[in-house]
């Protein structure tokens, strides 16, 4: 059935406030001012998402410049020094200023609505967290003009996103680019910790009446586990940025190998943050899938308790796998065995999740609207990413492929194939709630198919040069290696994805003004955010809701057959 012809259930009309929004009148200056001083979780959520989409375009352009450089062997499109800056800025931006803010943005917007609360537990802390993260992003990019490089000109960090010591020490990275990198990550880390505290306090302390722990929708549940990971994993990053600053500004010796400091310790500290960070990013993608797949399969999620347990399980296991990033640095055989086994253990809870999604789709009345298309592609691609993950967890295999394009292909399969795809699904699914307008379905399909084709051209192909021995982070290669055609296919796929993302941006802008009216509940969904008007009023719920099951809107629409009778 078409999305906009979906009838809203008469039951939910009672909870919707139709009084006009007074905030919409006023001059443009007042409008801008109201967005800057806002503490409303929905506005901050939208600010996070817009901020992240802006950086997605910037970091995407950086990726495309990298791909242009690698299109031909011995290409001199950019210099080796610029190339180093490009992949450093691409990685840092994508992780810290695209992934984190867009996921926190959706969390900010959705968590209070889904648990029937009127705002986050600490609205002002929320605003602080957003603005300090945004400041961190601007600081990173200010290094292009403010960070004095070797030649005395503007520059940018060029130490790769994991910034291995001792390259980052004063002796090897003079100028201020590494300082901008470190301070920027320090600032955004503080913002992330603030938001994580806020989300945990919101979910546990602001639930509406009747919402017991096992009636919380899966999205808030997964945001709690992801926030816990932020607390215990982003804090070590903050600590080691502080150590790096002590080294660079106060002449400390933490990572100064000439005074006995250890480069190895930085690698450990960074990956103690770096690996759980992957799960910080992927957990919200799971959360979106948990909400979208049931609605478009017209079935309740399969195995809710197993989903919660698997999420918490992933969070704990992910804290003990970091050294699988360091197999080639060298460890005892006991260390190799431990980190191989603990990494393989992650596949058990993630397998539980995959089977639960399949079981939810199985036998459902499936609607292939754009959010569902992205979700199906996500399940498929996430499984493949997991399979190469198991290959890389085997330390002898890892010794052969480490720091090759095989690894680059593997983690982009997770970050793009799983996380970015679910972010696009979430944008298509919740855009009507945030703006009151539907996204154009035809453009959405174009966006999806171009994205799928571009993604598989790029990242399926990228495994092969890795297996042929092409290392990551090289700025060019010899023509007789046989990598040329493969690299050209990868680059073409990259540009197709670029076009797909431009279509999304056009769709978002165009539909904001010309899209079909969404109404409160365009997808005939079951969680509380769809019981408010689109967009919801500042106070969310005129009457605080009371719930009796995991799908309160189902109960409301089907009083003769409520979920509460079965849970």
């Amino acid at each position: 059935m078409d999305a906009d012809s979906m009838p809203a259930a008469p039951g939910i009309e009672a909870g919707i406030d139709r009084t006009p929004d007074v905030a919409k009148t006023g001059t443009y200056l007042e409008l801008v001012h109201s967005w800057i001083v806002t503490v409303d979780h929905k506005r901050l959520g939208i600010l996070y998402i817009c901020f992240a989409l802006l950086f997605l375009l910037v970091a995407g352009v950086e990726a495309l410049l990298i791909r242009v450089q690698l299109f031909f062997p011995h290409n001199d499109f950019v210099s080796p020094f610029t190339f180093n800056r490009l992949f450093t800025m691409h990685g840092t931006t994508m992780v810290f200023f695209v992934g984190m803010p867009i996921l926190f943005g959706f969390g900010n917007y959705l968590v209070p609505l889904m648990i029937g609360a009127r705002d986050m537990a600490f609205p002002r802390l929320n605003a602080f967290s957003f603005w300090i993260s945004a400041f961190g992003g601007l600081l990173l990019y200010y290094s292009f003009i403010g960070g004095v490089g070797l030649a005395g000109t503007g520059s940018a960090p060029d130490v790769a996103w994991f910034a291995y010591a001792p390259l980052t020490e004063r002796a090897f990275s003079p100028g201020h680019t590494v300082d901008y990198w470190a301070v920027s990550l320090l600032a955004t880390g503080i913002g992330s910790i603030g938001t994580a505290i806020n989300i945990i306090a919101t979910v546990f302390c602001m639930r509406c009446r009747g919402m017991t722990l096992f009636r919380i929708p899966l999205l808030p549940w997964l945001y709690v586990t992801t926030s816990f990971l932020v607390l215990v994993a982003v804090s070590p990053l903050t600590a080691c940025q502080a150590m790096l600053m002590i080294d660079r500004y106060l002449g400390g010796h933490f990572f100064d190998t000439q005074a006995g400091g250890s480069a190895l310790l930085w690698a450990h500290f960074f990956w103690i943050f770096g690996h759980p960070e992957v799960y910080v990013l992927v957990m919200p993608a799971f959360a979106f899938a948990n909400e979208i797949i049931p609605v478009f399969s017209r079935k309740a999620i399969f195995g809710y308790p197993a989903m919660v347990a698997a999420s918490v399980g992933i969070a704990f296991i992910s804290l003990s796998v970091w050294a699988h990033h360091m197999f080639t640095i060298g460890m005892t055989s006991l260390g190799n065995a431990f980190f191989t086994l603990s990494t393989m253990l992650v596949s058990i809870p993630t397998g539980i999740k995959t089977f639960n999604w399949l079981a939810t789709i199985w036998g459902g009345k499936i609607r292939f609207a754009t959010p569902m298309l992205f979700s199906v592609a996500f399940v498929f691609q996430f499984v493949i990413a997991g399979l190469t993950g198991i290959m890389l967890s085997i330390s002898p295999w890892n010794w052969q492929t480490h720091n090759s394009y095989f690894v680059v292909a593997h983690f982009h399969y997770v970050l793009v194939g799983a996380i970015v795809f679910m972010i696009f699904a979430a944008i298509h699914y919740w855009y009507p709630k945030m703006t009151g307008r539907m996204l154009d379905e035809r453009l959405g399909k174009w966006h999806f198919w171009l994205m799928v084709i571009g993604f598989h051209l790029t990242f399926d192909t990228m495994h092969i040069p890795g297996l042929l021995g092409m290392p990551r982070q090289i700025f060019t290669y010899e023509a007789d290696r046989g990598w040329t055609l493969l690299n050209q296919i990868v680059s073409v796929g990259g540009f197709i994805q670029g076009v797909a993302i431009l279509i999304l941006v056009y769709n978002m802008v165009h539909s904001y003004f010309h899209g079909a009216e969404a109404g409160p509940d365009p997808w005939d969904a079951w969680t509380l955010e769809w019981s408010t008007s689109s967009p919801p009023p500042a106070y969310n719920f005129p009457v605080e809701p009371v719930v009796a099951s995991r799908r309160p809107l189902w109960d409301l629409k089907h009083p003769e057959d409520p979920d509460s009778a079965f849970e």
């Binding site: 939910i12 009672a14 909870g15 406030d17 139709r18 009084t19 029937g116 537990a121 600490f122 910790i193 994580a196 505290i197 806020n198 945990i200 306090a201 919101t202 546990f204 302390c205 602001m206 639930r207 009446r209 009747g210 926030s227 816990f228 607390l231 215990v232 994993a233 982003v234 804090s235 070590p236 903050t238 600590a239 080691c240 502080a242 150590m243 002590i246 080294d247 106060l250 002449g251 400390g252 010796h253 933490f254 005074a259 006995g260 400091g261 250890s262 310790l265 500290f269 103690i272 509380l528 019981s531 005129p542 009457v543 605080e544 809701p545 009371v546 719930v547 009796a548 109960d555 409301l556």
Partner: protein, 198 residues
């Protein structure tokens, strides 16, 4: 506007949720504990790896007095918590001031220790690995003491100007939770720096 609740009412009449202040402080303590863990691991990892002196054994003296002051302040802040819970504001002000005083004595003690290390033993953060890790770890803890003292001083100003009453007990207890954490961390730092590391 209809005022019917969204869902049929449940039988549960009492709907109790945990305090968000305590929950948020517990989360902050989790995050802070992770930061301290990294600094403690760095301290232990670099023990005895210096390429030049001075060594911990040669220059460190156990700060008995400051430690006793800081740890006992946890007891006094508990007395203050109990006092404000029962609305005994005079007792609260007394125990609160004692807590701040003990914290300040600890900080002075650390300051004197650092003065001795810098001026007499010529150990700075730049000297060697011991200097780097020592000043970072102890300094990180001391900065938490400073933050705690500043927040307690704000509460003291409210208490002395009569703006603080028994109904604020829950908020004061959240701050006290932070102070207990700062004290507990000192037990770890003390053990690592002055017992294991010396």
């Amino acid at each position: 506007m209809a005022t019917v609740p969204l869902q049929h009412m449940t039988k549960e009449d009492t709907w109790k949720l945990p305090s968000r202040g305590v929950m948020a402080m517990a989360c902050l303590i989790t995050a802070e504990a992770s930061i301290f863990t990294i600094f403690v691991v760095a301290y232990l990892y670099y023990l005895g790896r210096d390429v030049s002196g001075p060594t911990p054994k040669a220059v460190l003296e156990i700060p008995y007095f400051g430690t006793v002051c800081l740890l006992s302040s946890s007891g006094f802040i508990m007395l203050a918590e109990r006092a404000i819970e029962h609305g005994r504001m005079a007792a609260f002000r007394l125990w609160w001031m004692v807590t701040i005083l003990l914290g300040a004595i600890f900080l002075t003690d650390t300051g004197l220790e650092w003065y001795k290390l810098i001026v007499h033993d010529h150990l700075t953060i730049h000297t060697n690995l011991f200097g780097t890790t020592f000043y970072s770890l102890v300094g990180l803890h001391a900065s938490h003491v400073v933050v705690g003292l500043l927040m307690m001083l704000v509460v003291l100003v409210f208490a002395l100007t009569g703006h603080l009453h028994g109904e604020h007990a829950a908020r004061v207890k959240v701050l006290a939770l932070y102070w207990h954490f700062v004290d507990a961390v000192w037990v770890v730092v003390f053990t690592v720096v002055y017992v294991v590391g010396r």
